[in-house]
Structures are given as C-alpha cells and as structure tokens.
C-alpha cells in the first residue's frame, strides 16, 4: 500500500492542475459564501440559519472537488497512463484505495481552509447586516456545537463528494460523462424536488439525494423540520460514495483496463 500511496501522491503533486483546482475550490467556496452573506438582510427577529448561509459556498466548491476527483482516475484513462499504473501495482483494489486515501487527504485539508474561510467571512459580514445578538443572531462561533457540527460536517461532505466522483469516474472511465453524472446527481435533486407536487415524494427525494441529504449537516436551527437529520443525511451521502467506490472497484478488477 505504501508504494501505491507514494505513487499517487507524486502524481498529484507533480502536476499543476490539482493544486489550481484546490485553490480554485477554496476561492470559489469563500467567495460565494461571502457574496451570499453580504447581500442578505434581516428585517425582523429570527431571520433563519446563518451558519448554513455562511457555508453556501460549498454548493459551488463541490463542483471543483468533483473535477479533481474525476480527473484522478478518468484523466489516466484519457492519457493511457492507467496501463502504467496498473502494471506498477497489479493489485487493482490497492490502486483505487491509494487514490481514495490521497484524495481524501488533500480534499479534507483544502476543505478545512474553505469552510473556515467561509465561516470567518460570515462572522465578519453578518453583524453589518443587522444579524446581531439582540435579534437572536450571535456571531458565528465554533465553540457553539451546531456550528462546529456544520463546519466539520461540511468538510466531511466535500471529501465524500470527492469519493463519490472517484467511484463514478472509475465506473465510467470518461471525464466529461463522469462529471455530468456527478453534477446531475448533486444538482438535479433539489431542482426536481421543487417540481414534485406530492409532499411525501418530495421529502423522500430530498432524503435520498446525495446533496440535499448530505447538506442537512449544515443546519443549525429547526433540525426537527428537516427531511433528514444532520448525521443521517451525511450517512446517505456516504452510502452513495461507498456504493460508487464499490461498483468502481469491482469493475476495475473485472475489466481489462
């Protein structure tokens, strides 16, 4: 495992695109979060979930994480590098595991910066828009358990999206198609659930969508009214990631390259 990990780390480190994608992810996440928190207004008391709003950039950041994760394997298929990789490490499950581990590491690290940056932006900007302690909105703080859960959960969410994308790309082996499938899975469910007239189906859809369920972890208020609880929702995303990785791993073993 160690040589495989080392090989994967070298591949990521010596190409510039992963670094740019991670920097872009951090910048996009913080920028969208800061943008959203700087335009909201609070007219009356109890304006809603400001932690969730401060972390809204994750909606955009996850797209860049998905590109990075898809390229980790589909890029190798595109260039033919995968043959060298599999020749060097014939045990294919090890290859996929090594890719998953390195990806988890770098996405978790960059995700931590992105999430903390977003929360810092929210902490700085929100009091200027009438979200003040007197109106029931104390400044965002990580010592507050729900906010800490939201922050930690968002980092986990980003790594799970990376693993889901890696799994899908291993199945599909083409970067454009994989990214289409991943972004479709993520973005379509919230759009579709608005269309469904039946509230029961609507909640069901929000409970099984990898994004709508997983981002429940960002909620800090009104937890009871959510379609799914914070950790259970993240569990759904983890289920999607595990299923994609498992299917990808099996196909990788069964197929020629």
């Amino acid at each position: 495992m160690r040589p495989a990990l080392h090989a994967e780390w070298t591949k990521l480190r010596t190409v510039t695109s992963p670094l740019w994608l991670l920097l872009g992810m951090i910048a996009a996440t913080v920028a969208l979060s800061a943008g959203a928190t700087s335009v909201v207004t609070c007219a009356s008391a109890g304006c809603g979930d400001m932690t969730k709003l401060s972390l809204i950039g994750v909606l955009l950041g996850q797209a860049l994480v998905a590109i990075l994760a898809v390229l980790v394997i589909a890029g190798e298929y595109g260039t033919g590098m995968i043959r060298t990789t599999l020749a060097a490490t014939p045990h294919r499950a090890t290859v996929l595991a090594a890719k998953a581990v390195t990806l988890t590491g770098i996405v978790a690290a960059a995700g931590t910066i992105a999430v903390l940056g977003s929360l810092a932006a929210g902490r700085l900007l929100l009091p200027g828009h009438a979200f003040t302690t007197t109106r029931g909105h104390p400044p965002l703080s990580l010592t507050d358990w729900p906010t800490l859960r939201a922050a930690f959960g968002s980092i986990l969410y980003l790594t799970l999206i990376a693993l889901l994308s890696l799994g899908v790309a291993t199945i599909v082996r083409d970067s454009a198609t994989s990214i289409g499938i991943v972004l479709g899975l993520l973005y379509l469910v919230p759009v579709l659930s608005q269309m469904i007239g039946n509230p029961h189906w609507q909640r069901l859809l929000q409970r099984i969508g990898p994004m709508s369920a997983g981002l429940a972890v960002q909620a800090t208020t009104d937890i009871r009214s959510l379609p799914i609880g914070p950790w259970a929702g993240l569990g759904v995303t983890a289920g999607w990631a595990a299923a994609a990785l498992l299917a990808g791993g099996l196909l990788l073993r069964m197929r020629d390259t």
């Binding site: 709003l53 454009a176 039946n198």
Partner: protein, 509 residues
C-alpha cells in the same frame, strides 16, 4: 533521345473545402458516434419523462375549483360583500372615512399594519358566484381611489389616503352594461374616474359595499391580513330591491383565498348611518402567491435541467474528443480555415440539439398538462402561441447551452473543466435563487446577468401592477422578457465562440 515522362496526375478533381463540405464532415462525425447520438436522444426523453413524473406525482383530486375570470385567467374573488339586488339601472353613493388593516406578526398576534392594496368601496357584480363579471370603485390604503373591472383592468382616480379628515366619496352608476365610477373629496365636485362596459351583468345584478384585504407581502412569503372600513352617507337610486342589506363572504373556500387571520372574521355593523365592514381576500387576478397549488409549464419542463446536463456533456465532447484522439490534426488539415471548422461544428451541434429539444418539449408540454389536469391540478392557462414560444425557447436554450459547452471546450481543450464550468454557470444560479433570505433584488440580478437568465423562456405567468406579490424568478416571474433572457445566454455563447475561434487560430492544435 530521352522519352518524355508524363508525371502521374489523378483523374479526380481538386477537393472542395467549402462550408457545405465542412458541415457534411461534422455531421458524419456526430452521427457515427453512438454515445453522442444516444446522449441527444436521452436528453429529449428526459424532458418527456420528467413531464410525465410531474404530471403523475401531483394529486389534487377533489380540491375546490379555481375561480376563473371572464378572460379565462385564474382570479381571487373572495371578499366581504354587503349587498342587495339591482334589477336594471341605478346608482349608489357612499363616503369612506377610514380604512385600517391588521397583519399578524405571529399566528394570532394581530398588529396594525399597512396593506397597500387593501380595498373598500362599491361593487356591482353579476352575482356572488366567484369569477362573475363586475365593476368596482374603491379607496385603497396606499394607491388612492381606483376603478377596477373584469379582475385585470385598473384605472387610477383621486390620489392620497383616506382618513376622517380626508373623506372620499364614491359613486357607481349602472346604465345597461355601462358602469361609470365617480369620486369626490368634498361631495360637491365629482370627477369621473372611468366608464367600463361589463358584459354578462344580466338583468339583476348584486350591488353594494365591499372590503377586501389581500395577503401582506413579507420577505419570501405572504401573510393573510384583514381590513376594516367605515362607510357613511349610503344612498341608492334606481331599481334597487330596497329592504335590508345582506352581508356575507364571497368565496370563503377557494384555492386562491388563504382565509382570515386566526381569531378574525368578516362582519358588518350599522349604527347612526355609519357602516363598519371588515373583510379579507381580494378581487383581482390570481398570482403565484395567492394560488400556490397552481402549476406552470416551467414546472412541467423541469426535465430541461437533466437534458441540459446531457447536451452540455455532448457539446464539450464534440470538440475535446478530437483533441484527445488527435483527430483535430486531420480536421484542421482538411479545413485549414479554423474559424469555419468551429462554426460548422456549432451549426451541426446546435441544429441536432435544437431538433431533439423541440421534439422533447412538443411531446412533454401537452402530455404533462393533460396528466396534471387529470390529477386535478390547476395549470395556469397559456395561449397556444405562448405554448409554442415555451417549446421553441426550451429547444433554443438546449441548443445554445450545447454550443456554449463546445466553445468552452475549445478554449479549455479539456472536457471535465468545460462541462463543469457550463453546468455551474447555468444551473447554480437557478439553485441560488431558490434559497430563502436571498433578497428579491439579488435573485433578479442573478436572473438577469448569469447564463441562467435563459430560463425566462419558460415564463408563462403575468405580473399585475395592482397585485402586490413576490414577483421573483423562484415563483416563476423572471425580470427579463423571454427572448431577452435567452439573448443573455446567446451572448455568452457568441462571446465564447469568438474567443474559441481566436484561440483556435493562434494556437497550434
């Protein structure tokens, strides 16, 4: 003597490199890649499939029917009416000395508030049936005296609010099917506000006083309000039935009326010639906020989002695959004028996705409407020309999005980045505008400047000046006209194509 050697010359004519040949080459490339053809077919099927789902999943069988006005549009026709029959011509005059509204801060916690379009005045109406024709003159909280008829027409009269110091006198004359409204500030000098012809009033109409109080618009939602007006100097002339005035709520149970705030109800009391009337509701066209159960064509066409992702992937692959497989060298050798190659690609791709999108939408719209209506869902009505515009618009949206993906793919030479950029640019704004707390100004801005503006082609709802509501993209009201919204996306596509053409010429392949 050296023999003359004639060099070999092919009998074939020189190859042509006209635009038609380029188009033919690109069309051949497109139609022979199974994945791309499948993708475009899947995109069309997605549009149909989601329309089916939207139609089947909604179930409102047994809900009360939506009241419909004389023009066929859905209306709110729920208000407190103090009336008696008017068999023929006649007139009615009244003064209004107060109009006060209350809005609940929380359920049951009623506070005085301002409801700009709270109405109190006189109405002559065919019957108390919802949606029946009428003409009315009224004072409003913030928009002065108005004369309104047929739910959609609105004429301004005397400006300024009403109070004990500035009493407004109103008068309505019926002569046949012509109804004339007058207003006066002092009871001496009357100004005519307007004359309207109301067809279908019938020989015996209902006339009298009314109070309506539409929901108060608050952030993203609305809250039901209630208003009370004080009337005086009520005089009637002409063929009135005489006798007592009957008070009652018109349309108490209606999908377009959310009811009275908790612990309040409509009422009317009389003492020393002063009538105090309390009412809620509105006499106005229904909008999304007042008719939340109504469906729109845009909702039936949600499959556009799924189709969009597919055509974006196909569009990006149409060029990035050439780079990956090095086919681009052959393509550019065959067509050395590179911009024309790009235009040929865009034409083929745009044409194919347009046809597929149009086929999908043309099946999805009638099918979805039929299924939704069979399940008791009220679908906001559209004219057949609007329906055609929505279908053409969706097809154009898909075609332009795929061309944008092609252009971005040419710039990046890399499919993953191109696909993500285009999907995020079109779909993310749509997700952002659905978030609560984002002010209407920001979501309108997003629906104006991002490529997501193109969803305005789905617009079928009409904004009314005389109805306060959340006219936001989330509710189906786009800030740009349908083709203007589409032009924004087209602008992005043309700009990207131009940038791609420049890069394609400057770079080696």
């Amino acid at each position: 003597m050296t023999p003359t050697v004639t060099p070999y010359r092919s009998g074939r004519g020189a190859g042509r490199d006209g635009f038609v040949q380029l188009l033919h080459a690109e069309w051949t490339k497109f139609r022979t890649v199974l994945g791309w053809v499948t993708g475009v077919v899947v995109a069309a099927l997605m549009v149909v499939l989601f329309a089916l789902l939207a139609g089947v999943s909604s179930d409102q069988k047994g809900s009360p029917p939506v009241p419909v006005g004389p023009g066929g549009e859905p209306v709110t026709d729920s208000f407190y009416f103090v009336h008696q029959p008017l068999a023929g011509d006649g007139s009615i005059t009244v003064s209004v000395s107060a109009l006060r509204s209350s809005v609940p801060k929380r359920p049951g916690d009623l506070r005085p508030g301002i409801v700009p379009w709270a109405k109190a005045g006189i109405v002559i109406k065919e019957s108390t049936r919802q949606g029946s024709p009428y003409a009315a003159i009224m004072v409003t909280s913030s928009h002065g005296v108005r004369m309104q008829d047929s739910y959609v027409n609105d004429t301004a009269g005397l400006p300024g609010p009403v109070s004990a110091e500035s009493v407004r006198r109103l008068r309505l004359d019926r002569s046949g099917d012509a109804i004339t409204g007058y207003a006066s500030a002092d009871g001496m000098h009357w100004t005519k506000v307007g004359t309207v012809h109301v067809s279908g009033l019938g020989p015996t109409a209902q006339g009298g006083l009314f109070v309506a109080s539409p929901p108060s618009v608050d952030g993203m939602g609305t809250r039901g309000s209630v208003s009370t007006a004080v009337f005086g100097d009520l005089r009637i002339q002409g063929r009135w039935a005489g006798g007592n005035w009957t008070g009652g709520q018109v349309g108490p149970e209606s999908p377009s009326f959310s009811g009275y705030p908790k612990n309040t109800s409509g009422s009317f009391t009389e003492s020393d010639g002063r009538l105090t009337v309390t009412g809620a509701g509105d006499i106005a066209p229904a909008v999304r906020d007042t008719l939340p159960t109504g469906g729109t064509l845009g909702e039936l066409l949600t499959g556009t989002f799924a189709a969009l992702i597919v055509v974006i992937v196909v569009g990006a692959l149409f060029i990035t695959t050439e780079y990956r497989k090095n086919l681009i060298h052959v393509t550019l050798a065959a067509g050395p004028r590179r911009s024309r190659v790009l235009v040929a690609k865009a034409t083929v791709l745009g044409g194919v996705t347009f046809v597929a999108g149009l086929a999908g939408a043309a099946v999805a719209v009638p099918l979805g409407e039929r299924l939704a209506r069979a399940n008791g869902v009220y679908v906001f009505p559209v004219t057949s020309s609007t329906e055609l515009r929505v279908e053409l618009g969706i097809a154009a949206l898909l075609a332009t999005a795929s061309v944008l993906a092609l252009a971005v793919g040419t710039i990046f030479r890399h499919s993953a980045g191109a696909v993500t950029t285009v999907i995020v640019a079109i779909v993310l704004p749509y997700i952002l505008i659905a978030i609560p707390f984002i002010p209407a100004s920001v979501s309108n801005w997003l629906a104006r400047v991002t490529p997501g503006a193109a969803f305005a082609v789905q617009q079928t709802l009409v904004q009314y000046r005389q109805v306060a509501s959340n006219y936001t993209p989330y509710n189906g009201y786009y800030p740009l006209a349908p083709w203007a919204g589409f032009a924004v996306l087209a602008g992005y596509a043309v700009a990207s194509l131009a940038a791609a053409a420049v890069l394609l010429r400057r770079r080696d392949a």
